[in-house]
Symmetry: C2
């Protein structure tokens, strides 16, 4: 019964945030009447009408705990998603993971070309900070500054890009469980954690009041990546909308290769329960965050 209510709540939450994120991107990405049109079309192709939108849902659901205005939360959510989408475009490039399929359709460099993909990623990267620093926003400048610092640090060499570098090196190096955990905390965990953190920043929660949310984010971040490794190992390519079983081919260590399937699944579930435990001080208003935590290990894409 509990699970059924969760599933409905989650489905509604996802559908709503998917529509809202598309609307914000649409508004920020009008196609210009000059030869930049191709660039903006590539950005729209990657950013609109696809993706699970887990990060935006995390951000707006956290913000909702503290009564944050929905539009302000959505803008910040789109900034985080713009960073996520840019990283996917660059990760898919031939010189990186060389993927042809993403979210069930050709990757940007396949649909357009490599140079356009590099520039579309770069432009979405800049767009994230443009969105956050927008003068028209109702958010006060101190909050804006803290949002930007959080996103900047989650996406750079000490966050996502650093994790991606460690991931690239993993073809040549034999990583142990400790190093894989660190790698994934940077590559995936940092941006998921930033989503939760930014929701709390918008809610004017001081750093000491964010500790339980940070713990929640850390646990679901790790669970998310273990679930990703499980999907990569035993998932359905059609449902996933991308190529699977690449880690094994490339000889990269993963949670599954290091722990085995059963232990990895058990660990992911334990992390989700632990994550939900960190939300004990919240009532029903945190049900969406609990549902997202469960979804993270139960999704099939």
């Amino acid at each position: 019964m509990q699970t059924e209510i969760d599933a409905n709540l989650l489905a509604e939450g996802l559908v709503r945030v998917q529509r809202e994120v598309d609307e914000v991107f649409d508004a920020f990405l009008p196609v210009p009447q000059d030869s930049r049109a191709r660039l903006v079309e590539a950005m729209r192709y990657a950013a609109i009408g696809g993706g699970k939108r887990v990060r935006p849902l995390l951000l707006v659901s956290t913000a909702e705990l503290f009564g944050v205005d929905r539009d302000a939360a959505l803008r910040a959510a789109c900034a985080v998603e713009a960073i996520h989408v840019y990283s996917l475009i660059h990760d898919d490039l031939p010189c990186m993971d060389d993927d042809d399929l993403r979210r069930g359709k050709p990757t940007v460099h396949k649909e357009f070309d490599e140079a356009t993909a590099v520039l579309a990623g770069d432009s979405l990267h800049a767009l994230a900070f443009e969105i956050l620093s927008e003068q028209a926003t109702s958010t006060d400048p101190f909050i804006r500054s803290e949002l930007i610092a959080t996103l900047g640090s989650a996406s750079g060499m000490n966050g996502m890009a650093g994790g991606q570098m460690m991931d690239m090196m993993s073809e040549e190096e034999d990583y142990d469980l400790h190093t894989i955990t660190r790698l994934q905390q940077l590559k995936t965990g940092a941006l998921l954690a930033a989503s939760v953190e930014m929701g709390a920043i918008l809610g004017r929660v001081p750093p000491e009041g964010r500790v339980h949310l940070r713990n929640y984010a850390r646990d679901i971040g790790l669970a998310f990546q273990i679930a990703d490794d499980l999907l990569d190992y035993e998932g359905d390519e059609e449902k996933a909308g991308k190529a699977l079983r690449k880690d094994e081919e490339q000889g990269k260590a993963t949670f599954v290769s290091l722990m085995g399937v059963d232990k990895a699944r058990e660990q992911a579930r334990a992390l989700v329960e632990q994550a939900i435990g960190h939300l004990a001080s919240h009532g029903k208003d945190a049900d969406m965050l609990r549902a997202v935590a469960r979804y993270i290990v139960e999704r099939d894409r």
Copy 2:
């Protein structure tokens, strides 16, 4: 005599800002003790010990007009330079301009590899916003927010990246002088203008007080690009430290191809005089900005 004084002033200004920018980058880029080391080494390779540092000099010289603290100005200057350096790394990629030489040494993807070059560019891009949003900075949050908005918009699809896209399309399209001017205003002009603008923002100059500086920046931006086209056409590859005469090979229209060498040189000089004219309300304190304007058309690299 005037020219001699300018040259000394400029040489001192450049040498000083080159050293200072290197110091700031060095402090922001400690090499981590894990497999991200290669990434940070690539960032250091591209960012430290090279480059004319025209943008930083513009920013700190403008800030100086308004008595801005040198350290605050330098940090902002390094944010702009980080954007400039990231754009050079990505522009040099095989799928973009495919250049092997930059600032007299192998480009990042040649010295390291393509994937590292993509990630080093991305990480310098993020670093720019990390630097600007740093909590430790003495700058107030409203100013920080305005700096970030200015830099974000100068670097994204409506600035540098948009101009780069137009430039890529110019191999296939026949651009006229109007379109080339627009292209260059985005590709080169936006970031040069942002440098001046950010110096004034740090100086708490309200938008209406920045009009003459914006005009100065617009004129030197255009002069800079015409001078670049002239260098590309008749410059010395060894002094330039990069491959020249590529525009002609690729059949791209330039100021030189559209106006001819003599007319282009004349136009660049006229723009510089016009730029200096916009500084008439300033006294000797703007001599560095005047010297930079002259340097922009007289440089040999």
